[in-house]
Amino acid sequence: MTAFLDVLIGGVFHAAVLFLVAAGLQLVFGVQKIVNLACGSFYALGAYFGITAVSWCIAHGMPPALFLPVLIVAGLVVGLIGPFIEALLLTVYHRDEAFQLLLTFALVLMFQDVLRFFWGADPQQLGDLVMTYGRVHMGSIQVPTYNLLVIIASILIAAGLGAFLQKTRFGRILRATAENREMSLALGVNVRWMYASVFTLGTILGTVGGALVVPTAAASLDMPVELVVEAFAVVVIGGLGSMRGALVGALIVGLMRAAAISLYSELEMLSIYLVVIAVLIARPGGLFGKPLE
């Protein structure tokens, strides 16, 4: 029972963070049809920037208990690089997918060194700041309160995103653009503006995800390239472009990984790729994606 709860909570926590990154990936793919390999880099950027912001605030007399809002703000602020990156992607919207992938691959390479330049090659962490929020007893196990707060925050963001896409005017226009770009253009949608805002939103989801995870795990230079394959797994399992898919995919990947680590740690990532391959064979479009041609 203890082991089961551990896996459950650990898995859901991991899923909560993965969902944020994957949701950003889905938004950008849904609207711009670009698979952004650099989503992991945004995540790492959020993580590093979060550490710096929190350390700076604490050094300037902020009570440590306020670190969660600082992290969120840090994630939001650094996510504002989105429009600049999007301006670069503008050059390849009408080009072959190979070039779009390569351009985001170039960003991965560049961000690797940008992170190294500002934060050095050694992993960075926030120490035991997590414990300022204490622990919660859940049956036979203890869980850091912070982890639960992140899960709740992620659920709130998911709900907010869902409501935003379904209920607001902007969300409806966004979905319409994703469905048929030419028709939206013809009906007077400012697609240029739409693309820039969607990409920025996607970036912010990644950076906030990274900032939220950093109190529990060190930020390292391997973070971007490792996370991107997990985020890929999530969106492929869930179906490219589907928000519901991102949610279910994140839960599957998060729980699978937690279970594999506790049962047979050699299978950690292997199990995830096996699920990806199984899903692509059985349901090529992913669980919630549109079927392919």
């Binding site: 698979v35 190979a98 992938l101 060194d113 692509l280």
Partner: protein, 319 residues
């Protein structure tokens, strides 16, 4: 004309050990290895129009094949090592390819990436079998039955092994030239340009794509075996997805639209990377920047640039 260019190119390659320092010759070796791997890769990417983000899988099979055969099984003959590793890569490529060629575009890329990472995590995690992150040692094989035991490592690498690889590149490039100019090669281009139409005309699209996939795996494994023997080590990074990305980078750098592009790409990439690493620890940043400039401004790569200059030159002399 083309034959003359090929001969000049080979002559330059053969003369390099006489001109360059041993260090620079050891740099040419990975360039030769990547040139072989990319000739195969470009059959899939350039000619068939399928972008794989997982071909590091086959490079790694070549590398680990060389490690297992030379180190664990005591096989000495390089020819046997190459053939067996490449055969294993082809055997693996058939089930992987059967699944992957059902898709095109981004799904093909993601599925191949997943297979590559599957192999990477196997190499990385199963320490007992693969040596984990430290990888496996690769022993020096014999070339055409010659062990060359009197040579030390560097003089063996830049001597017999270097010439062996140049000849190998020449042979494999010639075979690839015949492949892309055969009916089979033209079929591949036809399926790239218009899948429906070529299906109506009786091209068995999936079967041809699968064969192209298997051939590319064969070439990548041979490149991987050379790489591993050159460094004396096979490690999991060979199978990592960023390595697959590098393969694509090199191909685009050289120009995927021309036959010789991948060879040009591998040589320019290796030397560019070496120069940048010598200048700054932030070489990845500059590599990324170069890739962006390439993608945005010169999508046809270096060979595309030369082609354009050639055409312009021709026009100006005729008018």
């Amino acid at each position: 004309m083309r034959l003359a260019l090929a001969i000049v190119g080979l002559a330059i390659l053969a003369a390099l050990p006489k001109v360059l320092s041993p260090y620079h010759v050891t740099l040419v070796l990975p360039a030769l290895a990547y040139a072989i791997a990319l000739l195969g890769f470009n059959l899939l990417f350039g000619y068939t129009g399928l972008l794989s983000f997982g071909h590091a899988l086959f490079v790694a099979i070549g590398g680990y094949g060389a490690a297992v055969l030379s180190g664990k099984l005591g096989l000495k003959s390089f020819e046997a090592i190459l053939l067996i590793s490449a055969a294993v890569a082809v055997l693996v490529s058939i089930p992987v390819g059967l699944l992957a060629v059902r898709y095109v575009k981004i799904f093909f890329g993601i599925l191949t990436l997943a297979f590559g990472m599957l192999f990477h995590s196997f190499l990385f995690k199963f320490y007992n079998i693969t040596g984990g992150d430290t990888g496996m040692r690769v022993l020096r094989p014999s070339l055409l039955g010659q062990p060359y035991t009197d040579l030390d490592k560097t003089s063996w690498l830049i001597g017999p092994f270097y010439y062996y690889c140049v000849v190998l590149l020449a042979i494999l490039a010639f075979i690839m030239w015949r492949v892309v100019h055969s009916h089979f090669g033209l079929h591949l281009v036809a399926t790239r340009e218009n899948r429906r139409k070529s299906e109506y005309l009786g091209v068995r699209v999936r079967f041809f794509r699968l064969v192209a996939f298997a051939i590319s795996a064969f070439y990548c494994a041979i490149g991987g075996a050379i790489l591993a023997i050159n460094t004396g080590q096979a490690d999991p990074e060979l199978a990592y997805w960023t390595h697959s990305g590098e393969l694509v980078f090199m191909t685009v750098l050289g120009g995927f639209g021309s036959f010789i592009g991948p060879v040009v790409g591998s040589f320019s990439y290796i030397f560019l990377k070496d120069q940048l690493i010598g200048m700054t620890q932030y070489w990845r940043f500059w590599m990324g920047l170069i890739l962006i400039i390439l993608v945005v401004l010169f999508p046809r790569g270096i060979s595309g640039l030369f082609e354009r200059m050639w055409i312009r030159l021709h026009r100006s002399t005729h008018s």
